[in-house]
Symmetry: C3
Subunit: 154 residues, 3 copies
Amino acid sequence: MNEIETLVACEEIRKVKAIYFRAMDTKQWDLLDGIFTQDIACDYRGALRSPDEPAAEDDDKDLVSGLAAVKDYIRTGLAPLISAHQGFMPEITIESDDSASAIWAMTDHLLLPDSPVREIIGYGHYHETYRKIAGKWRIATIRLTRLRVDFVSR
Amino acid sequence: MNEIETLVACEEIRKVKAIYFRAMDTKQWDLLDGIFTQDIACDYRGALRSPDEPAAEDDDKDLVSGLAAVKDYIRTGLAPLISAHQGFMPEITIESDDSASAIWAMTDHLLLPDSPVREIIGYGHYHETYRKIAGKWRIATIRLTRLRVDFVSR
Amino acid sequence: MNEIETLVACEEIRKVKAIYFRAMDTKQWDLLDGIFTQDIACDYRGALRSPDEPAAEDDDKDLVSGLAAVKDYIRTGLAPLISAHQGFMPEITIESDDSASAIWAMTDHLLLPDSPVREIIGYGHYHETYRKIAGKWRIATIRLTRLRVDFVSR
């Protein structure tokens, strides 16, 4: 890729990730169709605990792959909540004409109804890869790591 | 527009929006002169309530247009407060040589003096359009939508 | 610089700043080697107080310069804390082939162990300059200004 193509790819990947966040927070699940590969693979283990807390026994339920399963996982997890996801400071690397990777800093604010926990605030990073398919960049893998997770009581 | 011109336009629009935020938070009102069109039209209705709350009767006071009126509205609203606005994850679309649109995720933190409410934290999106006038991109319309608004008591 | 070179420089500077944040928050101090000039000069005075608070007598300890001293200052200050830095809305100006400047909006969340203060949340701006050395953009100066700093008790 030349410099212009690389810049265009970075711009497109930023936009794809922006749609990911907006889909989740505005609950427009159909927006997710256009931004994932068919074989999207997500590792959301540890999303809800600080790094110094032990893993849960059923942690593997947060390893999800395939477009239908990932869409269902996200919708099921986020539809009952008011969420606000913040993404910043991507480090995007274009690796070839049709593959790329990035690290994004992120914070999410989840507001829980009907729970002794009023709000969960998580700080961390998304580690992602992308593939360009039929002229469009799509998220191929997501791994979320955490710096800390705060639980705010009601 | 070719690819380079499009990339340059995206970069310029990001910078214009950055100045919008910095003007409000550092109270440098003169910075607003350079970033709006003369006929700037803003829809800030609903800025101070969560989406599930009913509209106020005087909601239309938050529909403001014209450079002088918008500058006055922003200055009057924000001068008494310490504010910190955060913008992220723009989805910018360049529509022609001199028109563009974007959606921005945003969070604002408003610190209120002399009020039983200590702080207002709002999460939402700016929906904006831009026009290029005399070689410079400017914000032409702003509409703010909210995911939630938190009021923190003193 | 032509338009493409300017866009590439902006992209590289964004990435350098992203590594700055990620190094601090993931405590990967070695990442700092690649992003500062040898004569990096930092002005972190006022980082821990709101603008209306008087300066501390020993404020000058937060003026640090030289790669080794700055790395040591950052590591000593941040290693004991869980930190999450957020950067947004850069206004980058490429001034020549090998010099640039930028203003970044920022928020940092510091979680303190063993202290009556549980958390410090700071809102402000980084004012920075950059130099391109041996083909790589590096941060040459940093000055942090604050809009407000919140101390949250345990």
